[in-house]
């Protein structure tokens, strides 16, 4: 089984200039929690709900989560007001693990298990984005091939 067999050719994509507010609306209208950031067909990064949370949660909570109950209730709203107009390219993750379409599906599964990835972008030799494999798409492939 190869990565191309589990490829989703048209997952959620956003432009690098999209705002976090636009991104949130986009994922709320889908069943996804992340989107690939693509510019003229070239993969630029990955943006997920976790990246938005990282902006809303201060660094000291990441260091010491026992302090979370002490943060005042309107803190998240204040942070959201501050960050909702930030652009996708300011927040996205750019250090990505990508795979070519002819990679073994085991390489994708290994990234899900060992690196905790949920989505792995797939790019061709010219770094052009051709789609993604997700935990769900790989499970669907397993079910088709071996689950019957």
């Amino acid at each position: 089984m190869l990565v191309r067999d589990a490829l989703i050719p048209t997952p959620l994509t956003v432009q690098p200039s999209a705002t976090l507010l636009e991104f949130i609306h986009m994922i709320l209208n889908s069943n996804q929690t992340n989107a690939v950031v693509v510019d003229n067909g070239i993969l630029k990064g990955l943006l997920s709900a976790s990246d938005v949370y990282r902006r809303l949660v201060p660094h000291y909570i990441a260091m010491d989560d026992r302090l979370a109950p002490a943060v005042h209730e309107s803190y998240v709203e204040e942070q959201w007001e501050k960050f909702k107009h930030h652009r996708a390219h300011e927040v996205m993750v750019t250090e990505l693990d990508t795979l070519p379409p002819d990679a073994s599906i085991m390489q994708a599964v290994s990234l899900f298990v060992k690196q905790g990835r949920k989505t792995v972008p797939v790019v061709d030799e010219g770094s052009r984005y051709v789609g993604s494999v997700t935990r769900r798409s790989v499970l669907q492939l397993f079910a088709q091939r071996v689950g019957r």
């Binding site: 201060p58 660094h59 260091m63 010491d64 026992r66 302090l67 109950p69 002490a70 943060v71 005042h72």
Partner: protein, 456 residues
């Protein structure tokens, strides 16, 4: 294979090889080009491979080898602190302090500094700042205050507080082990000076940061905090505090009980491990093994220069320059105080004190025994001779307090600057120096006056 090196003429060869290993290792540690643990371990391995020390010397000799009292004291305290840190008692105390200060900036800063100083005296400085910095950032965020003044003040308080006790700062642990000084001796000789320093430091805070103000609505955020929510595991918090208290009592009595501090700490750490739930793997994984192996490597490298006689030669130079006698070592003490502070401001104080402690022993042997005794096994009456006391305390005061001057002077400074930067509040080298250098000079002047009044 290299045994020819230890045959005829090996003495001079070993002398220069040990000196070269020490100088190169120290230079690389100071340059920070390679991690200090890697260098210390490599230097240690070379010391044995080149037959400067035998493996027996390095692993089993109390004269030239690894000081397991220091190693076990550090490991045990790290285990204790890791478990206590997880309970949330520190966060509880900090929020309680912020509420006690009614959300006013200067009183919060003063209380946080006192909390940090006391915690640093009882625990490791780096762990203390790792506990206090997140809660400080939270309080500053809630009060809309700039966090850098608070972070700087707490870093200084941690280094000052850590000076007060045997377990407060690694240089003190090293000195205690080499000089056979106990916990109560450290407390009795250093804590009074540290109390005066903390008072002067609080006055400094008022001068530097007395003008900080805060909005009334923001203060209400702090007053509305519930510190009880900070403690996640109440039974573990209670057990941890009881074990810590008993361990501290053990430290207080270790001289009378004829137990080394490492044994007391090991008893505390193993008891807490035994009565706390969960796998010991997590706790043991959080021990700073890199620091432990740095110490191990350092002990072997320094054992090498002690064995070949380099320390003895440098000690003679110190004797020539500072002219210590069997009745007074005043010039030696004050030279050590200021030189240690100056060096510790830019150099890691652990290798510095690890080198200076055997040097002081050698000097004591020369001055008090005419060089006839074994410098690494001096009798207790020599180690604790009233004439030698100010030398030990000056070394401790200089090495611990010198670190306050610069952003790289102490491990706690480096850790706080790193967190501040990652939190979006970078502290420049100049900004640190502007506050740190005056604080270092103030505490050194107090130390000088204290040593002069108490011992001369």
């Amino acid at each position: 294979m290299l045994s020819f090196l230890s045959s005829s003429g090996g003495g001079a060869v070993h002398y220069w090889m040990a000196t070269a290993i020490f100088v190169v290792a120290f230079a690389v540690i100071v340059s920070e080009k390679v991690h200090k643990t890697k260098i210390a371990m490599f230097g240690a391995a070379l010391t044995i491979v080149l037959s400067i020390l035998t493996q027996e010397d390095a692993f089993h000799s109390t004269r030239f080898g690894i000081d397991y009292n220091v190693v076990f004291l550090l490991v045990s305290m790290m285990i204790l602190v890791n478990i206590i840190g997880r309970t949330g008692v520190f966060e509880w105390a900090a929020i309680k302090a912020a509420k006690l200060a009614r959300g006013r900036p200067l009183p919060i800063m003063v209380l946080f500094c006192l909390l940090t100083a006391v915690a640093s005296a009882l625990l490791d400085n780096v762990t203390t700042v790792l506990l206090v910095v997140p809660v400080t950032l939270l309080i500053c965020d809630e009060l809309d205050l700039p966090p850098i003044p608070f972070l700087l003040a707490e870093t200084m308080a941690s280094n000052i507080g850590g000076t007060a006790t045997l377990i407060g700062d690694p240089p003190n642990i090293l000195i205690a082990s080499r000089a056979n000084l106990d916990f109560m001796q450290f407390l009795g000789h250093l804590a009074p000076a540290v109390c005066v320093m903390m008072l002067a430091f609080v006055v400094c805070l008022r001068v530097f940061y007395g003008s900080l103000t805060v909005d009334e609505g923001r203060r209400r955020h702090v007053l509305a905090m519930d510190e009880r929510k900070m403690i996640k595991d109440r039974p573990l918090a209670a057990k941890s505090l009881i074990v810590l208290a008993l361990t501290l009592v053990g430290f207080g009595l270790h001289g009378a009980l004829h137990l080394e501090p490492a044994t007391v700490a090991l008893m505390g750490a193993s008891t807490l491990l035994l009565i706390s739930r969960g796998d010991p793997h997590r706790t043991l994984a959080e021990v700073e093994w890199s620091t432990i192996f740095f110490f191990i490597g350092l002990f072997i490298i320094i054992g090498g220069i002690v064995k070949v006689g380099l320390i003895s030669d440098v000690s003679k130079l110190v004797i020539d320059y500072t002219d210590p006698t069997a009745t007074s070592m005043e010039k030696t003490a004050f030279t050590l105080l200021w030189a240690s502070a100056g060096l510790s401001a830019v150099v890691d104080n652990i290798p510095y004190v690890a080198t200076m402690s055997p040097l002081v022993l050698d000097m004591a042997n020369t001055v008090l025994h005419g060089g006839a005794a074994d410098a690494s096994n001096l009798p207790l009456e020599t180690l604790h001779a009233p004439v030698l006391q100010p030398v030990w305390w000056s070394l401790a005061l200089g090495a611990c307090l010198g670190g306050n001057a610069t952003a790289i002077g102490a491990s706690a400074n480096v850790v706080v600057c790193g967190i501040a930067s990652r939190s979006g509040h970078p502290i420049s080298f100049g900004r640190f120096l502007k506050f740190g250098l005056p604080v270092m000079l103030l505490t050194l002047v107090i130390s000088h006056i204290y040593v002069k009044l108490r011992y001369f």
